[in-house]
Symmetry: C2
Subunit: 333 residues, 2 copies
């Protein structure tokens, strides 16, 4: 079975490719039970080339907004598709047309390519908790009405609606997961407004200064890259019956305040690390972040077997373990 | 001020054109108060030519799925846009691609044309209660999570999300109203799955047989064409401040069961009219209709000044009055 990953060169995409290569096969359940499918190939599609070189990986680059490019990505034996490609929140807000092209047209192109293939491929859509915002209940449930406050959340929600309808029509077997803020995200800052949640850990551990643009009491709903990749694979593995009619779900995560994040940084990197975080309030980021939901009731997802990280210390330790080369100060793990 | 009406040749569009011509001007409120704008022209756009001939009316035909066609509809002095164009529920379900082209691409083309104009035109989007469906609370509120059960409802909901985001971005001043089932709809049956709600009144009054595909206890949330047109004008007239952040609303209507509809038909058309209605259960229509919401709490809309009809008898009498030529049996009104 071939697997297509859009946005595959991104940090979650690369971790997913790595996990799949390590497994060698992918477990997919249907009403007949679980089946282990050998992975014959992974198409890693993105605007830039994926860094993982392996005989089973085909690194392809192109524009997801181009229908023909996307049609060519889906082969007859593509059995699973993971759709991660997106321009992030800050970028989608700054460049409306780019957001619409990548996040909306791109998703439509992919859904059409899967429909055209005719084998009803299993498709996982990486949505976001940014579909929620504004006047929210203290705890957000799967049944809470999404009211996106930005173009990114709007485009993600539209993607979910299309995945739902394409699934209902029998064109694909789709699943959408609303991913918590991924932290600690390795590498360099991207255009996500939530980027500071990774930056305040990653930069100090790398010996660099980081900016905290929001008050310390700010709470966020987060999950580690490791946990997210595991939940992606679980979302794909579950049978259509496990999913039922509703194909969108809020993934488990946990609440971390910036105060707690600082305490963890102190624990692992010491006072020197914490001293590298500079408080510099940014009204625009604060305004956006203040509309995000921080507390979720993910009863359904937990019952379906999705698993969150246990604590923020574990997350930071996993980051250190996975990104040894980026850690340039002495750490206690 | 020029007004653009897409889907203007449809029955609601034509009634709206007529109402606007009769008024001669349009009342629009903003934070400076209400202003009466003289109507210098109405562009009536549809796939077929509008029947109302008037020096102020420009009847244009074309494909709303074509971006250039739609760009040409929005002039520098287009101050208000009413977006009615859509393929209806049954058609959108039967021809998925056509539904996507007209209901989704068409809406995007129109929003882009308005954005390109640069004057932030006031835009009214005719959405539908078909955005709701499935496992619903006994009474649907504005805050109820839309869970469309068909492609039509999905496309309408996506249109609402885009209207909301284009408004937030300051590209347009948009408003979306979720219209109850329009009844009694004059003319010939269209592809709407709810068409029988009009047919069981219209056909017998025209001396023709009608089919009732659902059980008599089936309840529907309805409004008359007259009330809907008045609510369209009200939705346009309200100021941005009246609307606030949330630009989607459930329009007031009232609940009618098929039993009540039959009783009204007997009252107005006698036993002979009722005898023309043949019960012929249609499992597919029943299944679709059973997922629709029939009871709504429209507190917000009523507080904003939207007005529903008072009873079904009044609706049928208005139909008889407005469509004398189509009534071919003796009636008591």
């Amino acid at each position: 079975m071939k697997i297509l990953i859009t946005g595959g060169a991104g940090f979650l995409g690369q971790q997913l490719v790595q996990a799949l290569l390590k497994q060698g096969s992918i477990r997919l359940a249907d009403d007949g039970g679980e089946t282990e499918h050998e992975i014959s190939g992974i198409v890693c599609f993105d605007t830039v080339e994926g860094r993982i070189k392996d005989p089973r990986v085909s690194n392809r680059t192109g524009d997801i907004g181009d229908a023909k490019t996307v049609r060519d990505l889906v082969a007859d034996d593509t059995g699973a598709v993971v759709h991660l490609a997106a321009v992030v929140s800050g970028t989608a807000e700054a460049d409306f047309d780019l957001g619409m092209r990548v996040n909306l047209d791109g998703t439509r192109n992919l859904l059409e390519a899967c429909r055209g293939q005719g084998q009803k491929p299993r498709l996982l859509f990486s949505s976001s908790i940014a579909v929620f915002g504004g006047d929210l209940p203290p705890v957000v449930k799967d049944s809470t009405t999404p009211t996106p406050q930005g173009s990114y959340g709007t485009q993600k929600l539209i993607g979910e609606l299309l995945v739902q309808d394409y699934t209902r029509k029998g064109f694909i077997d789709g699943r959408s997961v609303r991913v918590p803020t991924a932290t600690v995200r390795p590498g360099t800052p991207n255009g996500a407004a939530s980027g500071f949640a990774s930056g305040i850990i990653r930069e100090p551990l790398g010996g660099e200064e980081a900016l905290l643009p929001v008050p310390e009491e700010t709470a966020m709903w987060v999950a580690s890259p490791r946990a997210i990749v595991a939940m992606f694979l679980h979302a794909l593995a579950l049978s259509p019956q496990d999913w039922g009619w509703h194909r969108s779900i809020n993934l488990p995560g946990f609440v971390v305040t910036m105060t707690q994040a600082m305490a963890t940084l102190r624990e692992i990197g010491g006072d020197a690390a914490v001293a590298l975080v500079r408080h510099e309030p940014d009204a625009q980021v604060q305004k956006l972040v203040s509309t995000w939901a921080a507390r979720f009731d993910t009863t359904r997802a937990l019952a379906m077997g999705f698993k969150a990280d246990s604590d923020f210390g574990q997350i930071v330790r996993a980051y250190v373990e996975d990104n040894r080369e980026a850690v340039r100060i002495p750490v206690r793990v």
